[in-house]
């Protein structure tokens, strides 16, 4: 049966997407506002963007945030891939229930609980809080997302191809490099990008595990937003939205491209 959209369906789609997108569009529009009062339109201007570069500490925060995101996602991909292999390949080992439990728990649990527990742990162990502590915390909470992405890819693929390669004389290393790795590559790439954006966006866990000299962009924005709205934040947010939108666009393009190649191989 051909599904038809009722009028109610159409209206809920239009209102729903308007609700999702209008606030973001307003935010972007007001970053080009001449007036210092964020909410009064004073004409089109780019002036808040150069202003950003003059803001003290912002450039450092941006550098720290990017380094943090790159390192986090690289480590998270390695650990997440291992976790996914452990969960998919080994159906039975002692403590598997606990293991899969703690793999998924950080995704549902309120972040504030993880934040306080890590903060107090670093304090109890006399560990100076700073870049390293945020990195450890970020790896821990993003690796779970990577695990889920890679796990679904591992479950979906045909084990016989690996066995065939081994039967034809490839050793385990060669099988991994030639067969397994290329097959899970799309999941690894999207897992990396996912943890990159998660780390880039995280405020709550970073607030609790940060120390002097390690202010990330979200922490900077939050401290400014607590004081009220300002056109600087609008401009900065627009840049961040642009970067993230580009990444998402690249992921979509990449997975689409991969699908096309897979289709061509299948033919």
């Amino acid at each position: 049966m051909k599904q038809t959209l009722t009028r109610f369906n159409k209206i809920s789609l239009v209102i729903g997407f308007a609700f999702l997108y209008i606030p973001i569009l307003i935010l972007i529009a007001y970053s080009f506002n001449e007036s210092k009062l964020v909410t009064v339109w004073g004409g089109f201007s780019f002036k808040w963007y150069p202003e950003l570069f003059k803001t003290k500490g912002l450039w450092d925060a941006a550098k720290i945030t990017l380094w943090l995101a790159v390192l986090t996602s690289t480590f998270a991909v390695v650990l997440g891939t291992m976790t996914a292999f452990a969960l998919v390949k080994f159906k039975r080992f002692r403590g598997r229930v606990l293991f899969s439990g703690i793999t998924y728990a950080p995704m549902v649990m309120p972040e504030i609980i993880m934040g306080t527990s890590l903060a107090l742990t670093f304090l109890a162990l006399n560990f100076n809080k700073g870049f390293l502590t945020i990195l450890l915390a970020h790896i821990t909470f993003t690796m779970c997302y990577v695990t889920v992405v890679i796990q679904s890819r591992l479950i979906g693929f045909d084990r016989h191809i690996e066995e065939a390669a081994m039967d034809l004389g490839a050793d385990r290393f060669k099988t991994f490099i030639y067969i397994t790795l290329p097959m899970i590559m799309p999941a690894i790439v999207s897992g990396w990008l996912l943890s990159f954006t998660l780390s880039l966006d995280d405020l709550i866990i970073a607030t609790f595990t940060t120390g002097p000299g390690a202010t990330t962009l979200p922490i900077w924005i939050y401290s400014k937003a607590r004081l009220g709205i300002s056109p600087n934040i609008n401009a900065l947010s627009t840049i961040i939205i642009g970067v993230v939108a580009t990444i998402v666009f690249l992921i979509t393009l990449y997975s689409h491209h991969k699908e096309q190649i897979d289709k061509r191989h299948a033919e």
Binding site: M1, E111, L120, V244
Partner: protein, 339 residues
């Protein structure tokens, strides 16, 4: 197009060259005992399971045990700033000192109990509202023609990728007293002559519970839409057709079939909104202001003061105890769905 294909061709050619070179090195290295041992490390089950297990143990389980321990201590002006639970006293006696005072404080001081209750109330109401907003969108998405469905889904997920904080900030600009919404109302009102330009309307929206609801709905909407969509997408539409053919009125068909089938998705979506909303502190802080009490905010403020860390631990342990029931129920729902 042709040019593109050529480029791809050379790229995969280069990759193949690299692979064969790598393989050559690998084959030669295999003669060495140390290299074989090194590869063996990555191959053993012990390492593949052990490394992530150990990591999660150190940075997930141990921190819980530590805050659990700290929650039974007393604040002290020392380093570390709390008393110890276990002490060896003379004669080889181990003294265990558990201080329940923090939990007693939580129970007796009105602010904590009312913060917990108010969090539960706000989380429950906003979960319900998110469901009311999200369900029609999920339903409409599942009825879109195949080629539009993916685009629609992408459009729901896309805002989720932009920073949570930025999305809350966007609502600050809209809801503030001289904000976009008030300006819009005045503009329309003056246009049709309902509002006198000399005394513009200034609705106080920012700093109310209403703003917090809006913030939570806006931030968590995808978490509600996606699980519901997933169940509706798998639904067998011939069931609806059969019911209609047998003379079932559309509204009853909806209740008997569509609503029943999407129930696991609805439950999953509600848990995914309710659980994180319970511990939320950024939304009540930025949109709610000082009037809205939520336990996450109380926890954060107590932590920022940095004086009473045992109390901070006790607050977050009891928050965990509250959300552990919904987390458990959520995992049950998920498992049932996969079976």
């Amino acid at each position: 197009m042709k040019h593109r294909q050529q480029q791809l061709g050379t790229m995969s050619g280069r990759a193949a060259e690299l692979m064969s070179r790598l393989n050559f090195i690998h084959r030669n290295l295999m003669h060495f005992w140390l290299y074989r041992k090194f590869l063996g490390i990555f191959n053993s089950a012990k390492v593949i399971i052990g490394v992530p297990y150990l990591w999660l143990f150190c940075f997930f389980i141990v921190p819980f045990l530590i805050i659990l321990r700290i929650s039974f201590t007393e604040a002290e002006i020392a380093s570390p700033p709390y008393s110890s639970v276990l002490t060896w006293i003379e004669g080889g006696v181990l003294e265990i000192k558990l201080n329940f005072q923090n939990y007693v404080t939580l129970w007796q001081d009105d602010i904590y109990i009312s913060a917990y209750l108010s969090s539960i109330k706000i989380a429950a109401i906003s979960t319900f509202l998110t469901f009311v907003v999200g369900f029609p969108i999920a339903l409409a998405l599942s009825r879109l023609p195949k080629k539009w469905r993916l685009l629609g889904l992408m459009m729901v997920i896309l805002p989720f990728w932009t920073s949570f904080l930025i999305r809350i900030y966007a609502w600050m600009t809209i809801l503030s007293p001289s904000g976009v919404l008030n300006n819009f109302i005045n503009f329309i009102g003056q246009g049709i002559g309902l509002i006198d330009p000399a005394s513009p309307v200034q609705l106080q929206l920012l700093g109310t519970e209403f703003a917090v609801y809006i913030g939570i709905i806006y931030c968590y909407l995808p978490f509600m839409i996606l699980p519901i969509y997933a169940t509706l997408d798998k639904m067998d539409h011939t069931l609806v057709e059969a019911a209609m053919d047998l003379g079932c009125p559309p509204i009853k068909t909806f209740w008997v079939i569509t609503a029943r089938i999407s129930l696991p998705g609805i439950l999953a979506g509600c848990f995914l909104v309710f659980i994180p909303a319970m511990g939320e502190f950024v939304i009540p802080d930025l949109l709610g202001g000082s009037d809205v009490l939520m336990i996450g905010k109380v926890l954060y403020d107590t932590y920022l003061q940095g004086m009473d860390l045992p109390l901070v631990s006790a607050i977050s342990v009891s928050l965990l105890l509250i959300v552990i029931i919904p987390i458990y129920l959520f995992q049950r729902v998920q498992q049932k769905q996969f079976e």
